[in-house]
Symmetry: C2
Subunit: 334 residues, 2 copies
C-alpha cells in the first residue's frame, strides 16, 4: 500500500481535492475565497508548523510566534488582500514554561500589529511537540483578486525581491560564514502585503503566489495549474547579496541552487502582460517597492532555466512535504 | 519557573489575552467575531486535535475527519451561526497510507456536507503524529448572536440534549458493558447547528457555549465570565439512558460524575430569561429539538449542585489541558 512518503505532498493534495465535494477549485490556491458581498471576497488561509519538521532549534519562542503569523499573512498578500484578523491554535507540551508562552504570544501579536491586524481568537491544546496552526483572514475586491491560475504565454514573470535570503540565513546560522546576523530573513519573514496591495490595485496581474516553497517548486505549481511553461533567465535573478558573499568564501556552495530551490523567502512570484510591466514597476518604485523581471511565460509546458544564453530544464528540487527532509536542499559546506 | 502543567489551560489563555493588543474581548468566546457588514458578524473558530492527547486509538481515519470538522462547527453552532466553510490543516506522519488520507478526507467532507457546508481550503504538512487543525467560518445576524457573556441572576439554565453520551461511549468502548455500539456519540459528535439556529432566532438567549469540556468545566467558565453563580438540580439533568444502564451493571460507576464532568457531548449549554423559557422550548419542540431546564443563574458566584434538595458546591472536575490526562476523568470499572 502506498504511503505519503511515496506520493508526496502535491499528490496528497490532488487526492484530497478529488474527494472533496467542493472539488479542485477549493484547494488550488493560497487562500480559500468566499463571497463576502457583491464586490469583495473573504480570503482565508491556514498554515501549520511543527517543531521537529519545521522549526530550527535556534528559533526563539518570539520568532515562532512571529513566523506562524507571517506565513499566514503571506498567503493573504499573494492574493492582494488586506488582512482583517488572525487566529492561532497552539499545541504545546505541558513542560513548556510560562515565559515561552508569553514570548510566543508577544511575537505573534507584534507581527499582526506590524501589518495592521490583530490576533482575534484561537485555541490551546496539549501536544507532544510545539505545533502552531494559524488562520489568516483578509478581504480583497473581486476585480483586484490575484489568482494562481491565469498566466498566459508571453506574460512577464516577476518577483518582488531578493531570492536566497532565507537560505543564506540558515547557512549562516549553521556555519557562521559571514560576520553578521542574517537569521531574521529565515526566522522573521516579512509577508509582502504592501507589494500585494499595490500589485492588486493595478488589476493586471494574471497569476500570483508566494515562493515560500522555493522558486523552482513554485514555478512547477504554476505550470501545472496554468498548463503553460515558465522560462527564467538566471542572469536576471535577484540573488541575495549575502548569499553571493557566502559563495565567494565557500567554493562548494552552489549559490544559484540555493536561490532557485530553497524556500522561506516569502517574496511574491507573479505574471503580468508584458505591455503592463514597465508601468507597474514604476508604480511599485513610487511606493519604494521592487518588481524584477525574471523571465516569461511560454507555451511549451516546461520550466526552463536560461544560463549563459543556453536553455535547460530547471529541475523541481524545492521542498516537498513527506518526500524528503527539509535539510536535504542545503549543501554541506567544506 | 512555572510550567504549563502548573498553570493549566485556563490560566494560559488569561496570560495570552493580557498580552494581545486586541485584549480579552477576543479570546473569551467560542468564536472570534468580525464585522462582516452592518447586520452580520463573521464567526471564525479554530480547534486542533492531536493523536496522543486527543484521539482514542479506536478512532478510524474517517471518524477523525468527521470529528475535526464537527468540533469546529460546534463552535459556530453555539453562537447561533450558519456555517459557510471549513478549512483543514493536516499534519501527518510520512508513513501514513494513502487510504488513511482518503478516509480522513471522506469523513471531513461528509461532516461538512451533512451540515450544509464545504471544505474550502487547507494545508498538509509532515508531522510526527497525526495533528488535525480545523477552522470553521460562519455568519450570524448581530441581533441573533449568542455570546458567552450576558447571563443574569434569575435566568433559566438549559441544555439541548442528554449528558454523558460520549462518556458512555468511551466506557463501552473500553469495557464492552452494553451489547450495542455507543462509540458514535464519542467519535462522531453532532454539532448542534440546528438547535443553535432556532435558539438564536428567538433573540432571548443571554449566554451560550457548547459543553465539550464537560458540564462542570463549562459552568465554571460561564461563572468567571459572567460574574454570577450557577445552580444545577441533579434531578433535572438529562443523563444518558445508556450511561444509566451501565451504572446498573457496575456498582462503582458514578453515573452522575460522568454526566457532570466528562466532556465530548457537544450539546449547547445556555441561559435564557425565565419568562421566555416555555415559549422557546415550545418552538424547539416544533422543530423536533429538545430544551431541558437544568437550573438557574444565581447572584452568589458559585457553582452549586442541588442533590435531593440539598445544596453543595459542584467541583470543577472537567478536563483541562496541560493539568491532567484525559483518562483521569473516567473511573476504572470493577
Amino acid at each position: 500500500m502506498k504511503k505519503l512518503s511515496d506520493i508526496g505532498e502535491r499528490e496528497a493534495i490532488r487526492i484530497i481535492s478529488k474527494i472533496l465535494s467542493k472539488g479542485d477549485t477549493a484547494l488550488g490556491d493560497d487562500c480559500a475565497t468566499l463571497d463576502m458581498d457583491e464586490e469583495h471576497y473573504l480570503l482565508v488561509s491556514t498554515d501549520m508548523i511543527l517543531q521537529q519538521t519545521h522549526i530550527p532549534q535556534e528559533m526563539t519562542p518570539y520568532e515562532m510566534g512571529w513566523f506562524i503569523v507571517a506565513v499566514n499573512l503571506s498567503d493573504i498578500a499573494s492574493k492582494g488582500g488586506i488582512p482583517i484578523g488572525v487566529l492561532l491554535s497552539l499545541g504545546l507540551p505541558r513542560e513548556i514554561s510560562e515565559k515561552f508562552l508569553k514570548d510566543l504570544t508577544k511575537g505573534a501579536d507584534a507581527c499582526a500589529a506590524e501589518f495592521g491586524t490583530y490576533i482575534v481568537g484561537g485555541d490551546t491544546k496539549e501536544a507532544n511537540e510545539v505545533t502552531l496552526c494559524g488562520t489568516a483572514l483578509g478581504i480583497v475586491k473581486k476585480d483586484e483578486f490575484m489568482p494562481r491560475q491565469g498566466a498566459k504565454p508571453g506574460d512577464t514573470i516577476a518577483v518582488t525581491g531578493e531570492l536566497g535570503k532565507a537560505g543564506a540565513g540558515l547557512l549562516n546560522l549553521k556555519n557562521k560564514i559571514l560576520d553578521k546576523d542574517l537569521s531574521k530573513f529565515l526566522l522573521q519573514p516579512i509577508p509582502r502585503l504592501k507589494e500585494g496591495r499595490v500589485l492588486a490595485g493595478q488589476k493586471c496581474v494574471t497569476s500570483c503566489m508566494d515562493i515560500s516553497d522555493g522558486l523552482s517548486s513554485s514555478l512547477y505549481q504554476l505550470k501545472e495549474l496554468n498548463k503553460t511553461g515558465f522560462e527564467i533567465d538566471l542572469k536576471n535573478l535577484p540573488i541575495s547579496s549575502d548569499l553571493i558573499a557566502m559563495g565567494e568564501k565557500h567554493s562548494n556552495l552552489d549559490v544559484c541552487s540555493v536561490a532557485l530551490h530553497f524556500g522561506g523567502d516569502y517574496e511574491l512570484l507573479l505574471t503580468i502582460p508584458p505591455e503592463k510591466f514597465k508601468q507597474t514597476r514604476e508604480i511599485m518604485r513610487e511606493n519604494d517597492l521592487e518588481l524584477i523581471d525574471v523571465g516569461r511565460v511560454i507555451e511549451d509546458e516546461k520550466v526552463i532555466l536560461v544560463e549563459n544564453g543556453r536553455k535547460k530544464i530547471l529541475e523541481n528540487k524545492g521542498y516537498e512535504h513527506f518526500k524528503k527532509p527539509f535539510s536535504s536542499i542545503l549543501p554541506n559546506l567544506n
